[in-house]
């Protein structure tokens, strides 16, 4: 049993804290107003720090860390509301590492790790009940090409991504394709979101890609999607944990300063007990996330653990950020205070890679409960 970080992890976090304080503080406000929502310069600096290679083998330029290292780093990013597709790109890279052919690994991983290439996963089909679908879903294999039409939603940062990991169902089973985002026939629309996390709609119309775009084998698509989902859920849990730690910190600092009725409001038990509930919620989220990451790092089954982490983090995200706003009173709803930034992003993170209900259904199945 060991709840401590390793020396290397402490070093990583110290440098992350400094870097994020210097480079990322308030960036979210700028980026929210910009079209790209992402800073190539920042990306290059992160590559220099080795962050983009944190979970990859040395031979591709990585530093061979594990999921615990990744989760710790993403947690730090959450504290700073780091904007940009960091985790999204890394999990795409992990899919290539685990399922790609040697030639694909050589083609994609060094570029990704050097910060020259963003890869976004395009997995979610639109729900016809939620709006009209203008592009019929189609994928045909002709000669040595795939011809693809379809719509994918909530593709993170697709408007600046170089490559897409695109999932589709063929008559030979589900597949994942690595598609050059500059291929003719792709239309990308970046949607305004509560969380400034730049979810995109992409529409593919008769997009032609070579057969070599296939990641892994024909029919492996669902398995790869599931992997991407669980890595995504885990990293999102870590991001939420970091965000909420910051929310608690800001709230406690505020409660120690703010005076009403000639007293610091932090002396009131009504405030203290809410703060206690907030930090308990966050600690639960944190330990569940760490345990899931530890299991993944040791190649143990972690489906239930990841869903426990994300279901808890998702709901804590809503509860804790809401309470943070409440305890800030009028300042909590003011644009000038940072609290509203966290409150908004908390909602996006809550529903990204599955909300609480979604993951509880997975937990129920893992417990042997039959729907």
């Amino acid at each position: 049993m060991d709840f401590d970080l390793t020396e290397l992890q402490i070093l990583l976090l110290n440098s992350a804290e400094k870097f994020l304080e210097k480079e990322v503080k308030n960036l979210i406000r700028e980026i929210e107003k910009s079209d790209s929502g992402y800073s190539p310069e920042l990306w290059r600096k992160m590559a220099e720090l080795g962050w983009l290679g944190i979970v990859f083998p040395e031979k591709y330029g990585g530093i061979e860390g594990d999921f615990t290292d990744l989760v710790l780093l993403v947690e730090e990013m959450g504290k700073a509301l780091f904007p940009g597709p960091f985790a999204a790109t890394l999990i795409s890279g992990l899919a290539i590492l685990e399922y790609g052919k040697e030639i694909q690994k050589d083609q994609f991983l060094p570029d990704l790790i050097a910060g020259n290439s963003l890869i976004a996963s395009a997995l979610l089909l639109p729900d016809p009940a939620m709006g009209a679908i203008t592009m019929d879903e189609k994928i045909v294999i002709k000669d040595d090409h795939f011809i693809i039409s379809g719509t994918r939603l909530f593709v993170p940062f697709a408007h600046v991504a170089d490559w897409l990991l695109y999932s589709a169902d063929t008559d030979q089973g589900p597949v994942i394709l690595l598609i050059d985002n500059k291929t003719p026939g792709i239309t990308t629309t970046c949607m305004d979101s509560i969380g400034a996390n730049k979810p995109c709609e992409i529409i593919l119309e008769d997009v032609v890609v070579p057969i070599s775009s296939l990641l892994g084998e024909m029919g492996q698509g669902t398995r790869i999607v599931n992997k991407l989902q669980s890595w995504g859920a885990l990293t999102e849990s870590a991001y939420i944990t970091g965000m909420l730690e910051q929310v608690v910190k800001m709230t406690v600092e505020y409660a120690k300063e703010r005076e009403q009725f000639e007293k610091k409001i932090g002396t009131f038990q009504a405030i203290q007990h809410k703060c206690s509930d907030m930090i308990t919620d966050v600690d639960q989220s944190k330990l569940l996330t760490y345990e899931a990451a530890w299991k993944l790092s040791h190649k143990m089954p972690a489906t239930i653990d990841i869903s426990m982490a994300k279901s808890w983090a998702s709901d804590a995200s809503r509860r804790v950020s809401f309470m943070g706003v409440m305890l800030h009173g009028g300042n909590g709803v003011s644009e000038e205070y940072d609290m509203q930034l966290y409150f908004r992003r908390a909602k996006s993170s809550e529903v990204t890679f599955g909300d609480g209900d979604f993951h509880r259904e997975i937990i129920a199945q893992e417990l042997g409960l039959q729907g």
Partner: protein, 383 residues
């Protein structure tokens, strides 16, 4: 980070489980006695002495006093399995009185009490609460007069569970009128058979017996005092630091029973029920991690404070929530008590539902735990 037991700890854990499985009938008998609300019966005493024989009741203690000189993680492992198999996860002697005697008691007290505690032969009733001293423990008023060759005690105690079968009272009493109040409290070990002591039962909503204890001119010998005069409140707080491990062993057992019930009755077709059970499983796992964190801190001589408060609050509140959920799942049948042919799972959850209230009160209410988390954990100022 590492969330697993070491190979040695894992081996030990297996040995503990094997022990309880080999003594399963005795253990079930003990659990039944305990769950009747009457506390220790003959089966409890017998299994405690068997655990004591192994040196597992106080595994962290020196060998001369019946311990094994093992680290706290081993104590956690025993407690978790005791909780699972017996519902009793520690004795008051092993968890609170013993450690204080070990660090502040006289040599005579050590020689007299420690071995019997470690052997599971004696038990202490905590003598802290009074009618006017609950969360504000320093307000306790039971009065001790120093009469040169003995102490004379007068007053009363409330909610002193275990007094009807424990041999000794672990008594917090007022030895001086001071300001602040906590500086005039001392700790005593009193033989509960001493003339002048009357123990009268009080029944909880959960059907558990606790007691009101009256001291009417009770004479106790001078060597009954533990440590220094007027330092009792510090020892009481210190003892709380020793006894901060909670486990989810019992909670997990009951949850698994509920899970099986839901599967067997086909109630898992209901998505609402699946959601609730999945949420509980998540909460129980988070509480288990909190418990391990506290054990790990103790293991490396760190004093957990807000972490322990969080654990205590969480375990008792999740227990209540689990029982509440089971009641919802049983629907109208939940109200039926043991004995009715329509009661579910022999009405055991009905009884536990009532009994679980107590855990949120005893050893510090959830509200007090929230104060501790806010003030010690987050550094919020006292009002």
């Amino acid at each position: 980070m590492d969330f697993s037991f070491s190979p040695q700890e894992e081996q030990f854990r297996q040995r503990v489980i094997d022990f309880f499985q080999a003594n399963i009938e005795l253990g079930n008998g003990a659990k039944k006695e305990w769950s009747s609300g009457m506390g220790y019966g003959p089966n409890c005493w017998e299994i405690l002495s068997k655990i004591g024989e192994k040196g597992w009741l106080c595994p962290t203690w020196p060998k001369q006093y019946g311990g094994q000189e093992l680290s706290y993680m081993y104590r956690y492992i025993v407690m978790e399995q005791m909780h699972f198999f017996l519902n009793i996860y520690s004795t008051v002697g092993a968890g609170m009185a013993g450690p204080v005697i070990l660090s502040h008691g006289s040599q005579e007290q050590k020689d007299r009490f420690l071995l019997p505690i470690a052997n599971g032969e004696i038990e202490f009733a905590l003598g802290y609460s009074e009618s006017q001293a609950g969360s504000d423990l320093a307000a306790l008023a039971i009065k001790v007069d120093d009469k040169e060759d003995h102490f004379l005690i007068n007053g009363s105690k409330l909610f002193n569970t275990r007094a009807h079968y424990a041999q000794y009272h672990w008594l917090g009493a007022r030895t001086a009128m001071t300001k602040p109040k906590f500086k005039g409290i001392s700790l005593f070990i009193v033989d509960l058979k001493t003339p002048g002591i009357t123990i009268s039962p009080i029944w909880t909503v959960g059907g558990t017996r606790t007691n009101e204890i009256f001291y009417d001119n009770v004479k106790v010998p001078k060597d009954a005092i533990v440590g220094e005069m007027n330092r009792g409140f510090y020892y009481i707080l210190e003892a709380l630091d020793y006894e901060r491990i909670s486990t989810v062993g019992g909670l997990k057992r009951d949850f698994d029973e509920l899970l099986e019930y839901v599967k067997k009755t086909g109630k898992d077709k209901n998505a609402l029920i699946r959601q609730k059970l999945a949420c509980l499983a998540t909460e129980i796992e988070s509480a288990r991690l909190f418990a391990l964190r506290v054990a790990w801190m103790l293991n490396r001589d760190q004093i957990p404070n807000y972490e322990a408060a969080m654990l205590k609050m969480l375990v008792s509140e999740i227990e209540q929530k689990m029982l509440n959920t089971s009641m919802q799942i049983f629907g109208a049948y939940c109200q039926l008590q043991k004995g009715s042919k329509w009661s579910q799972l022999e009405g055991s959850f009905e009884r536990s539902y009532r009994d679980s209230l107590e855990n949120m009160i005893t050893r510090g209410t959830s509200e007090i735990m929230r104060n501790v988390i806010a003030q010690r954990g987050l550094g919020l100022p006292r009002g």
